[in-house]
């Protein structure tokens, strides 16, 4: 049987050797590396815990609630408190475990306030002011307290939840981290006293 002439065989188009131009290759590799780098950093960040002991405490600026200023100042910068021991406590009015330690923190404050050597700062994490004030009044808290505006402070410390308390020594280095509520005033005092002893 004769082969019918092929009906749809176009003459082969001239073989075009399209090598990838150099700029395109560079672009592809650079893009790939950049993407991997971004993902790597994002991954590392998500795997990172909070700031750790022996890290320098991130500097921050706390705007206090009116009536809860520090020595009359409504803006408290951590850097300005160098030379003193600073206890930074993250809390929220909607946080049930925070209530367990609230009274103990106030007792600790009353114990250390006369010396002026230890500063206790309360940082209110994503909260609403009326409820926050209600919480502070309920536990009779008088130490300086302010809202974490824009969640900048909590992001700097990379907190994972509330309550968390960070103890910063006179040189601005973190010496102790408490995740979760304190069980008693003695716990708080023992940590502060041990930092004082280290000098």
């Amino acid at each position: 049987m004769t082969q019918p002439a092929p009906i749809s065989a176009p003459e082969p188009a001239p073989a075009k050797k399209r090598s990838v131009p150099l700029w395109a290759q560079v672009l592809v590799w650079v893009g790939l590396i950049a993407l991997l780098a971004v993902v790597a950093v994002g991954l590392r960040r998500s795997q990172q815990g909070t700031v750790q002991v022996d890290d320098k405490a991130p500097d921050f600026n706390l705007t206090t609630f009116s009536g809860y200023e520090y020595n009359g100042a409504s803006q408290v910068k951590l850097a300005d408190l160098k030379g003193k021991i600073v206890v930074v406590n993250f809390w929220a009015s909607w946080c049930k475990p925070c209530e367990q330690e609230a009274a103990d923190l106030q007792k600790a404050w009353l114990a250390y306030q006369p010396e002026g050597d230890v500063v206790l700062l309360g940082v209110d994490y994503v909260d609403t002011e009326p409820e926050a004030r209600g919480y502070l009044e309920k536990f009779g808290i008088t130490y300086p307290n302010g809202a974490d505006l824009g969640t900048r402070i909590s992001q700097a410390f990379r907190i994972k939840g509330v309550p968390e308390t960070y103890f910063v020594d006179r040189n601005g280095v973190i010496q102790y981290i408490q995740v979760g509520p304190f069980q008693s005033v003695d716990e708080i005092q023992s940590v502060v006293d041990s930092i004082k002893a280290k000098k």
Partner: protein
């Protein structure tokens, strides 16, 4: 005992997969047929091994072995047995084993096909499949061990480990934590398997593409081999997405089905590229063009599958959907890095050899439309990928956390989807190689008239919203054109063969399953689009706290709170069920029973809506569970979702269309003999 056995088998399976990789590569380079055969057997062996391991895990779950950490975290005594089995994929470790099980099953299925014509592909297909398999099993072996158990040390701490730590004793909790109540729903039972099936089956075309690149077989053989795999993979992935949407609608209680959550997007991205790939390979089959592009697309699909799995499981993204933080992130990252680099390198290396066999000749040819289709799908992909990645970049450079949410995606994706609908309508009208506006216009004007008529009807019924007007017109146009193509072909065939219309339709579809299955899928997509558009533009909701006897009003409906009942069930739930009466224009329509289930074991509530579904809308009533639920006052949220059921019905039609497209053709010689016999029996066809 069983746990050690399960873990041991898992380790052996890991070793087997690694052996298969090594043997296949060695067999290729040496070259040695024996080594390649050996690797093939190793690949086949991995399936019974992983099955044993997975079945052991299921056994442990079904028999309440709460000393195993994974079992404790996903089941409890009060769960029914069928739910316990599905808890296999209810947590990270078990779902990794499940993933591996499916991967092994599919890879083994590939091994069982006839390889006579494609011997050269075999080693590299095995390498790719087994590297992927080994990676997922490896994650289970080294990081997320599903068989790890609890031990208690002398000072009371409970550890999780595979083998007994020094000085510890076995510890068995009395009951498990139970599966998250949100996951105890039929949609959730089948949604992960569907998604995993989709992900896993896309590995096969990727394996063949890599094999083609490595061996230098630059024709479209690999595409022809994997044509059905691609369609099946795409079917599973599509169903996985639809089921996830259905689950969200039924159970999450916010009246919607797609929230542009990063994890949803992580599953959506492979689907986008997979769809582009599905269409683009037809150009290569028909005209031998765009080989670079097709290879790139399948590499991208595989990469997005792995990348999406990584995003979901590593904790990089914040999402309601994501698994908990885990150590597998870095391992995943290394795997992704290696596969991206290897694939990109391989493609660039072979770039010159992938020459086109013909030239693009006409702006209106079908190839051009397919390219436009690809451009639009890739643009949607860019929007999704950018939206997911940009919060990471922003945090890296500015320290500021940002959220990229629904407004961003909806605004960008809607016009691109509209473009896709338009292209979907026109492409079947154009021919391969060349077309002109005249030919397309001639084929199109009748359906276009039908579309205009439907549009005018909508306007007459009161439709004024401009987005809906444009959207519905495009949908009507594409629907009319596709149905017209069907009708025209059926009429032509029926006239030529003197069969009745239904027989013609059946035979027509049967003889060209891929094309007409594809048309049915297009029609189903338009039906779904009607639902999506109607719901997006016209849904409304209201919320209010009412006492018994009072009502809420929404869009002409009145919802009256009639009764409340609260009781404890025997499977560990406290149920609060309200009775609400739905009426419209004074006529009572039905009673609905929204309820709130509180699960004692996991201490989590779940709301189940009462829904009245009709073809034109859903009326969806939920009990707001963070407010008190009392006769004197309960808070209800009512959603009115017009046309939403077109979405779910369309998806059923979609399954049918995909099955048609995938169904194997009968033996072509048998088929043509039958056709000849039939032709011979009939009187001479009038022409």
């Amino acid at each position: 005992m069983a746990a050690q056995f399960g873990y041991g088998i898992l380790v052996i399976c890991f070793a087997t997969a690694l052996f298969a990789v090594g043997a296949a590569a060695y067999g290729y380079f040496k070259p040695s047929q024996r080594w390649v055969e050996s690797s093939r057997y190793a690949m086949l062996l991995s399936f019974p091994l992983i099955s044993l391991s997975a079945l052991t895990l299921i056994y442990l779950i079904a028999n309440n072995h709460f000393e195993i950490d994974f079992v404790y975290s996903v089941t409890s005594r009060s769960m029914p047995t069928y739910l316990k089995v599905t808890a296999l994929w209810g947590g990270q470790a078990g779902s990794l084993v499940f993933w591996s099980w499916l991967m092994s099953a599919f890879a083994s299925a590939v091994m069982l096909r006839k390889w006579d014509r494609d011997r050269e592909f075999l080693p590299w297909v095995i390498v790719v499949c087994c590297v992927t398999l080994a990676f997922f099993i490896g994650l289970g072996v080294f990081y997320e061990n599903p068989f790890a158990r609890y031990w208690q040390t002398f000072d009371g701490n409970v550890l999780t480990a595979m083998f007994r730590p020094a000085g510890a004793v076995a510890f068995t909790p009395a009951d498990g934590r139970g599966l998250n109540p949100l996951l105890r729903h039929p949609g959730m039972i089948i949604h992960p398997p569907m998604l995993y099936l989709g992900f896993v089956s896309f590995v096969i075309p990727f394996a063949f593409a890599i094999a083609a690149l490595v061996t230098g077989r630059t024709d479209d053989r690999w595409i022809r081999i994997t044509r059905r795999w691609t369609l099946v993979a795409w079917l599973f992935l599509s169903m996985g997405l639809v089921l996830g949407a259905r689950w969200a609608y039924d159970v999450l209680g916010w009246g919607g089905y797609w929230g542009w959550d990063p994890v949803e997007i992580a599953a959506f991205m492979p689907w986008l590229v997979g769809t582009a790939f599905l269409h683009s390979v037809m150009i290569q089959e028909k005209r031998g063009m765009f080989k670079h592009w097709n290879t790139l697309l399948i590499i991208l699909t595989y990469s997005l599958v792995i990348f999406g799995t990584f995003l979901t499981r590593s904790g990089v993204l914040s999402s309601v959907h994501a698994f908990a933080q885990s150590a597998i992130g870095p391992a995943f990252f290394v795997f992704i890095g290696l596969t991206f680099i290897a694939s990109a390198g391989l493609l660039l290396y072979r770039w010159n050899d992938l020459k086109s066999e013909s030239e693009l000749q006409s702006v209106l040819s079908r190839e051009a439309f397919f390219l436009l289709n690809n451009l639009l799908f890739m643009s949607v992909l860019v929007v999704c990928f950018w939206g997911v990645i940009v919060p990471l970049i922003s945090e890296l450079f500015t320290g500021q956390k940002i959220t990229v949410g629904p407004p961003f995606y909806n605004r960008a994706v809607a016009p691109l989807m509209a473009g896709l609908i338009f292209v979907m309508g026109l492409a079947p009208l154009s021919a391969w190689g060349h077309s002109t506006w005249k030919t397309i216009g001639r084929a199109m004007w009748k359906p276009a008239v039908a579309a205009v008529v439907l549009e005018v009807l909508c306007i007459a019924l009161g439709l004024r919203d401009p987005i809906a007007l444009v959207g519905f017109f495009l949908i009507f146009l594409t629907l009319s054109i596709t149905l017209y193509e069907f009708g025209r072909a059926v009429l032509a065939r029926s006239r030529a063969t003197e069969e009745n219309l239904f027989l013609s339709l059946w035979r027509l579809i049967g003889r060209n399953r891929r094309r007409y299955g594809g048309y049915i899928i297009h029609v189903s997509m338009m039906v779904m689009a009607i639902g999506i558009l109607g719901n997006a533009e016209f849904s409304a909701d209201t919320q209010g706290t009412i006492a018994q006897g009072q009502s809420l009003k929404l869009d002409g409906y009145t919802i009256t709170y009639k009764d409340l009942a609260i009781w404890d069930t025997n499977d560990g739930r406290n149920v609060a069920r309200a009775v609400v009466e739905v009426s419209k224009d004074g006529k009572v329509l039905t009673d609905l029973y929204p309820r709130r289930d509180y699960f004692y074991d996991s201490q989590q509530p779940m709301t189940i809506p009462g829904v009245r579904s009709t073809i034109q809308d859903d009326l969806y009533v939920i009990l707001v569970d963070w407010q008190p639920i009392l006769s004197s006052g309960a808070t209800f949220k009512v959603y009115h979702n017009p046309l939403i059921n077109w979405l779910w019905t369309g998806s059923l039609l979609f399954i049918f269309g995909a099955l048609v497209a995938v169904w194997p053709d009968r033996d072509p010689e048998y088929e043509s003999a039958r056709e000849r016999a039939r032709m011979a029996r009939q009187p001479a066809a009038a022409d």
